[in-house]
């Protein structure tokens, strides 16, 4: 199982280590540093490394490496999932997952790690269980604790630990009972030069924020559940009812959680909301090239496309860009060779256009690679797959909760090839 954990920052300093079995010298990380050196970009460090006596499994989150040391055969996915859970928990507790925050809360983080694993076996990873045992720091609490000598470690057994609904604690009380669901869809797509869809799919997620008193039992049903043939659920969802009736029936965890992920892959269901007309060319002679990009709405379901942004990783030889945007601003970072065009709202009447010349380092050959365009966008109030929640019912409690559903479509990994 998981033997040790090292937290390593961007520049390669180990700033926290935790061992769940015997202590392993931090020199084991040298193998990792070697791989990191080789990979150049931190994103490209292979997640599973083999050393003579150990395995190193790492993730890269928030400019930090979470590096675990493994000595026996352990499912690597198990470890990776767990490491992400650690990062999630830190994020959940302190609002962000960064070196500074962890250093500021080092003892709490250490206590959390101790609570999350025992002998390398996961012990408590549910956020609400952890929060019952180790209370997240708030300014108010630390003031109170200082005054009263109280502690931020709970001394009763978390109720969720053993019940059949480990994700929910007992005795939850709210004055305002509310349940909000956000249906968020991301479009992953690759469009080729001519604008034809090479590949498109939707990654959907239903994020919930449920603050309900007692032990509510919720049922969420959809207008068109047939869309969903590839789903993964939070453990609270009763799978049998989904199989039989295509409704989500569950006792919700308290607070924020991801109710379900889904995946729509059949291409006729994936609407591509914008089209992109582009040409980026470099001349055979002379140190320059031309760029001309126009973006227009395509299938937007009658909604406005917002937060439009185009990012282009230019070939290394491109020194600068001299462009004019009819709408929005553009920046070109010479160091990273990234051109960003921030458009904002897409106006169907007056299509935004960016054009001008690119100058190339003199003497270098014409760049061979074709830069891809990365598109960012948002469409409010619509799930692009057409998924719609029809109703939410609550059983088990008497009060009437406040309910709400929001829809949002975003571009995920949306790229246009040139």
């Amino acid at each position: 199982m998981i033997h040790s954990l090292f937290l390593i920052n961007h520049s390669g300093d180990i700033f926290l280590e935790k061992h769940w079995k015997s202590v392993i010298s931090r020199s084991v990380c040298d193998y990792f540093f070697e791989a990191k050196e080789k990979a150049v970009e931190p994103e490209n460090v292979p997640p599973v490394l083999q050393t003579p006596h150990h395995y190193l499994i790492s993730i890269y989150r928030g400019k930090l490496f979470f590096l675990s040391v493994i000595q026996t055969e352990v499912p690597p996915l198990f470890v990776i999932e767990f490491l992400h859970r650690v990062a999630d928990t830190i994020q959940d507790y302190f609002g962000e997952c960064s070196e500074g925050v962890i250093k500021d809360n080092v003892v709490t983080v250490y206590e959390l790690l101790e609570e999350m694993l025992d002998n390398g076996f996961p012990l408590a990873t549910e956020s609400n269980v952890l929060k019952e045992m180790i209370r997240p720091p708030t300014i108010l609490r630390s003031v109170v604790n200082t005054l009263t000598g109280g502690s931020n470690v709970g001394d009763t057994l978390p109720t969720g630990q053993l019940s059949n609904v480990p994700w929910r604690r007992a005795g939850v009380k709210y004055t305002n009972n509310e349940a909000y669901f956000d249906v968020i869809e991301e479009i992953d797509a690759i469009l080729d030069k001519s604008g034809t869809t090479v590949f498109a799919e939707i990654q959907g997620v239903i994020e919930a924020c449920v603050r309900l008193t007692g032990m509510p039992d919720l049922t969420l049903s959809f207008m068109n559940p047939r869309l969903l043939d590839d789903v993964s659920f939070h453990p609270c969802v009763r799978f049998k009812r989904w199989e039989a009736e295509r409704v989500l029936s569950f006792i919700p965890p308290d607070g924020n959680f991801t109710l379900m992920n889904y995946h729509v892959s059949s291409q006729n269901l994936v609407a591509i909301p914008v089209y992109v007309k582009q040409s980026i060319s470099f001349f055979e002679t002379g140190p320059c090239g031309r760029l001309d990009i126009t973006i227009g709405p395509k299938q937007t379901m009658g909604k406005t496309v917002e937060n439009m942004m185009v990012t282009i990783h230019m070939p290394k030889a491109v020194l600068s860009a001299n462009l004019t945007a009819t709408q929005g601003n553009y920046t070109y970072d010479i160091a990273t060779k990234v051109l960003v065009w921030d458009i904002g709202k897409l106006n169907p009447q007056k299509l935004p256009n960016l054009r001008g010349s690119l100058s190339i380092q003199a003497g270098t050959p014409k760049p061979e690679e074709n830069p891809s365009l990365n598109i960012d966008l948002k469409i409010q109030q619509v799930a692009i797959s057409g998924l719609k929640v029809s109703r939410l019912d609550m059983y088990g409690e008497k009060y009437k909760p406040f309910k709400g559903v929001k829809y949002l479509t975003k571009a995920g990994k949306f790229q246009v090839r040139t």
Partner: protein, 949 residues
């Protein structure tokens, strides 16, 4: 206020201050101090000096303080075992605490303290906790057993904890069940043969029930445990599958993959015609696809596993090609894996799409990825025959880009395409040759050389091209050197007239100037092949090469089966069996997929036909030595795996290697090493190609031969005739030369006595030879340093080389010599015995001898009688051996000894002889066979001379 304040230090010394604070009366101050200590500890500072002070804080009712002290204890108890004992009492007391949280915490912490004295005290509390009324305590205690086992396995067994743990599998609480399973699995890993997890239908049922109710991590433990079970029949298998399927929709990817493992394994037992089987296949695709939308690290592990799944059951994901299309911001390790799977899924139906993508990738920025994309195009060509033409034209387009590494990769894969579709795309060779100069990577250079050698007859200037490579021979990598050697030998065999010099050059480079044993050995083998029997050489070197096939990069089926049983584990990431690399697992059992239920359904549905094909005709993996031998057959270019850990060599390679062995090399190997039968056996059965009639006597004779070799060694020097007068004094103004020839230590010497019969002193001697049949020439000047006075004689030995100009003489062994001194130049001619030219390595191998003997036409055979020779056959053999006439075998037929002998002349001509010796008959019969029959007469004369001296 943040924890960073704990790191501030003062001048007085941190430890000193902390000590004071720890002993403070105020609770709050104590807690803060412990926090500071912990903070120092987490960043690796040594605060062990504070041990007694921290332990003193342990007895508290403040849970947070207690936990902090426990954290400290776990870290430092090992280094301070005597002090740690102080804590034992508190632990034992805490194990009785009414609060289950404290009981659990105590037993959990005790288990983490790896000190023997403490573990002794742990047993009793642990026993109680395992039977605690509170499930939270029980589940903590279950894990504690695993901890204790890690520290002291014997203790755990003696105390009977394992049985208690087994009982916990039937616990009413699913969390306890899951932890018990996890603990048992971990313990079982160090006891591979113990029957700890004795799975039977009842326990399976309990596990399946717990599966629905426990945490995600518990589900992983239970699923992994289920995967070790072998259901009794297809019905049980189906019912387990049905109950596991819902796990495919879990948000935790590790749960999903463990569920996939169980299903992949148990599916094997389901009859293929069952409806449920089809349903299950359909259900497997979506979760696998979903894994690819997770974080990149998860994607990577998922992709490595999908790679296995696709090989075992390609039908699951055959319609999902597009999800493996590469996004440009994927991390490189994900890109490379996706590419690999794209190739595996490529089929006639989707090849157009795949090729378009690959072409797109070939213009990306990342060099590694571009290379792999180019290789992938080649693999497509090999895999999908209909696409080969398009692939080749795509590759040609890419070559036109002139991007250096793209061109090189393209050439490497085109070589593979040639291997797969011979005589189809050779028209592109011209384009390839244009790029010869830009190749700087060994693999590309080797590939290009291979192409030139293989198609030498179609490339007009093949010799020039290869010659240009030869210039920097020593700077090339071994791969290129080997390939160059082979290519030139091929060229020579195809165009022998123009390339003789080239081949000699490369052979001498390889054999004489190289330190690389592989290169040298290959050089020698070619050399011998060429010199013994060019026909055989042609057959070996230009043999039709087995076609390579797409299976070359598939994982070998038994390994694949084992890996399928290990889906989701490290083994599946590395594509190696766990036994190969997991250090902790001592002697892992090899897992096998269960057999299919029923015997009638061995025929797969058409969908699975390709998978079935693989398992029925497994591409055997070559044993390592085969690999090496495959090398000899110029197949050393890596098979077109391009990616992936262990590149499984193609079955074709193996065949090639075997052929080569069968063709007589095994005797070469066996013979050289002095008849170690084990070695011979290692290389397989004797070649079936030999006619039995030849085979029998010779193998009988082989033993004799070894006896001979053992007894004799090299007793006598080579035969040398007595000196005769070559130049009488009267013909040479008083200089008389008599002389003879001898072969000493491998050097031919002309031994002369020069006598001055004139009245004046002779000086300034020099010697020169006319061109002669075997290229004899003085290897140095004639060493006569002192002037030769009248009536004085001097002995001179002149070493001879055989690299001089050649002209056929009549008689063959005639040598015309010119000797000069201060008086004049004199000419004479003499004859040397041909036995001078028999070289030391003239011992032919048994099988080669047989083949050669057969191969030389009977017209070339001549028979001679040697009269009045009174040696027995052994003595004759000895005597002849002294002059480098080697007896290969001996057999006795009806009182007649037959000696089979070989000798080799300095110019590489082989002479084969059969010497018949009949006891009591002084007349020998010699039959000589040689491709150059002119030498037979001379050889016969030598025989007579050698035997009678």
């Amino acid at each position: 206020m943040t924890d960073s304040k704990y790191f501030t230090t003062t001048k007085k010394g941190e430890i000193f201050e902390l000590k004071a604070e720890l002993n403070s009366d105020k609770k709050e101050k104590k807690k803060e101090a412990v926090k500071k200590v912990i903070a120092s500890m987490t960043v690796g500072k040594d605060v062990s000096a504070l041990f007694p002070d921290v332990v003193n804080c342990m007895q508290t009712d403040n849970l947070e303080l207690k936990k902090l002290v426990y954290l400290y204890l776990m870290n430092y108890a090992k280094s301070q075992p005597d002090m740690a004992i102080m804590a034992v009492n508190t632990f034992v007391k805490d194990c009785e605490d009414p609060n289950p949280l404290i009981r659990a915490l105590a037993v959990r912490t005790m288990g983490c303290i790896r000190v023997d004295k403490i573990t002794e005290y742990l047993c009793e509390p642990l026993r109680k906790c395992l039977k605690d009324e509170d499930p939270y305590v029980r589940k903590t205690a279950a894990v504690c057993v695993a901890k204790l086992h890690d520290i002291n396995a014997q203790l755990v067994e003696d105390q009977g904890f394992l049985d208690t743990l087994k009982d916990l599998i039937s616990d009413s609480n699913p969390m306890v069940v899951a932890n018990a399973v996890a603990a048992l699995s971990e313990i079982a890993e160090s006891h591979p043969n113990s029957n700890l997890l004795d799975l039977n239908p009842q326990t399976i049922n309990k596990l399946l029930t717990a599966l629905n109710e426990c945490t995600e991590w518990g589900q992983i433990f239970i699923l992994d445990c289920l995967a070790n079970y072998t259901p009794r029949d297809d019905r049980e298998s189906q019912s387990i599958c049905e109950r596991v399927t819902p796990r495919l929709s879990h948000a935790n990817s590790a749960v999903v993959l463990s569920a996939v493992k169980v299903l992949m394994k148990f599916m094997e037992m389901l009859p293929k015609d069952l409806d449920y089987y089809g349903t299950l296949l359909k259900k497997l695709a979506p979760p696998l696809v979903t894994l690819l939308s997770a974080e990149p690290e998860l994607q990577y592990v998922a992709l490595r596993n999908i790679n296995l799944i696709v090989q075992r059951r390609p039908e699951i994901l055959k319609h999902e090609m597009k999800v493996f299309f590469v996004k440009y911001n994927d991390p490189i390790y994900v890109k490379l894996e996706k590419l690999d799977i794209m190739i595996r899924l490529a089929s006639q139906a989707n090849i157009a799409q795949v090729l378009a993508e690959l072409k797109e990738y070939a213009t990306e920025v990342d060099v590694d990825f571009v290379r792999k994309a180019v290789r992938a195009i080649g693999r497509c060509a090999i895999k999908v025959e209909q696409s080969a033409e398009r692939c080749v034209s795509t590759l040609l387009d890419l070559i036109q880009t002139k991007v250096n590494y793209v061109v090189q990769e393209a050439i490497v894969v085109i070589k593979d395409i040639f291997r797969k579709y011979p005589n189809k795309y050779e028209s592109v060779i011209a384009t390839l040759c244009e790029n010869l100069d830009s190749l700087d990577e060994p693999e590309a250079r080797a590939a290009m050389i291979w192409i030139v050698g293989e198609y030498a007859e179609r490339i007009d200037n093949a010799d020039e091209l290869l010659e240009s490579f030869l210039e920097g021979f020593h700077d090339e990598s071994t791969q290129v050197q080997l390939q160059l050697l082979t290519a030139i030998v091929k060229l020579f065999l195809k165009k022998p007239t123009e390339t003789q010099e080239l081949v000699q050059q490369v052979l001498s480079l390889a054999t004489q100037d190289s330190d690389n044993p592989d290169l040298r050995d290959r050089g020698y083998i070619y050399w011998r092949l060429l010199s013994t029997d060019p026909v055989a050489a042609k057959e070996v070197v230009l043999a039709e090469k087995p076609l390579i096939s797409e299976e070359t990069d598939l994982i070998e089926p038994t390994l694949l089966e084992e890996l399928i049983c290990h889906i989701g584990t490290l083994a599946s990431v590395y594509h190696k069996p766990p036994s190969a690399f997991v250090e902790g697992s001592r002697g892992v059992q090899h897992k096998r997929l269960p057999g299919s239920a029923g015997s009638g359904d061995s025929v797969d549905s058409p969908d699975t036909a390709s998978a079935a094909g693989v398992s029925e005709a497994p591409p055997a993996v070559i044993p390592s030595q085969g690999d090496l031998l495959g090398d000899l057959l110029n197949l050393d270019l890596t098979p077109p795996t391009a990616t992936g850990p262990p590149p499984a060599p193609s079955s074709g390679l193996q065949m090639g290697a075997m052929d080569l062995l069968g063709g007589g090399l095994d005797s070469l190997l066996g013979g050289d090493l002095g008849g170690s039968p084990a070695l011979g056996a290692g290389f397989g059965a004797p070649p079936a190609a030999m006619p039995a009639s030849f085979n029998a006597p010779v193998s009988g004779g082989l033993d004799d031969l070894f006896d001979l070799g053992g007894g004799v060694g090299m007793p006598m020097g080579s035969y040398s005739p007595p000196k005769t007068v070559w130049l009488p004094a009267m013909k040479a103004k008083g200089l008389e030369i008599s002389g003879t020839f001898a072969r000493r230590a491998g050097v031919i010497q002309m031994e002369m006595t020069l006598t001055n019969k004139a009245m004046s002193v002779m000086t300034d001697f020099a010697i020169q030879f006319n061109r002669n049949s075997f290229g004899l020439a003085p290897a140095g000047p004639l060493q006569i340093l002192t002037p030769l006075s009248p009536n004085q004689s001097i002995e001179a030995a002149l070493p001879l080389s055989t690299v001089g100009p050649v002209m056929k003489m009549e008689p063959l062994t005639n040598l015309q010599v010119a000797v000069k001194n201060n008086i004049d130049v004199f000419y004479f001619s003499c004859q040397y015995p041909i036995s001078m030219l028999f070289v030391e390595d003239g011992k032919m191998e048994r099988q080669v001898f047989l083949a050669t003997w057969k191969d030389i036409p009977n017209d070339n055979e001549s028979q001679f009688q040697i009269k009045d020779c009174h040696l027995n056959s052994d003595a004759a053999s000895n005597k002849l051996q002294g002059s480098n006439v080697f007896t290969i075998a001996k057999r006795t037929v009806e009182g007649q000894d037959m000696l089979y002998q070989s000798m080799k002349l300095t110019n590489g001509i082989w002479v084969l002889a059969e010497l018949r010796v009949q006891t009591g008959n002084p007349n020998y019969t010699v039959s000589l066979k040689c491709r150059a029959p002119e030498v037979s007469q001379c050889v016969f004369q030598s025989y007579e001379a050698m035997l009678k001296n």
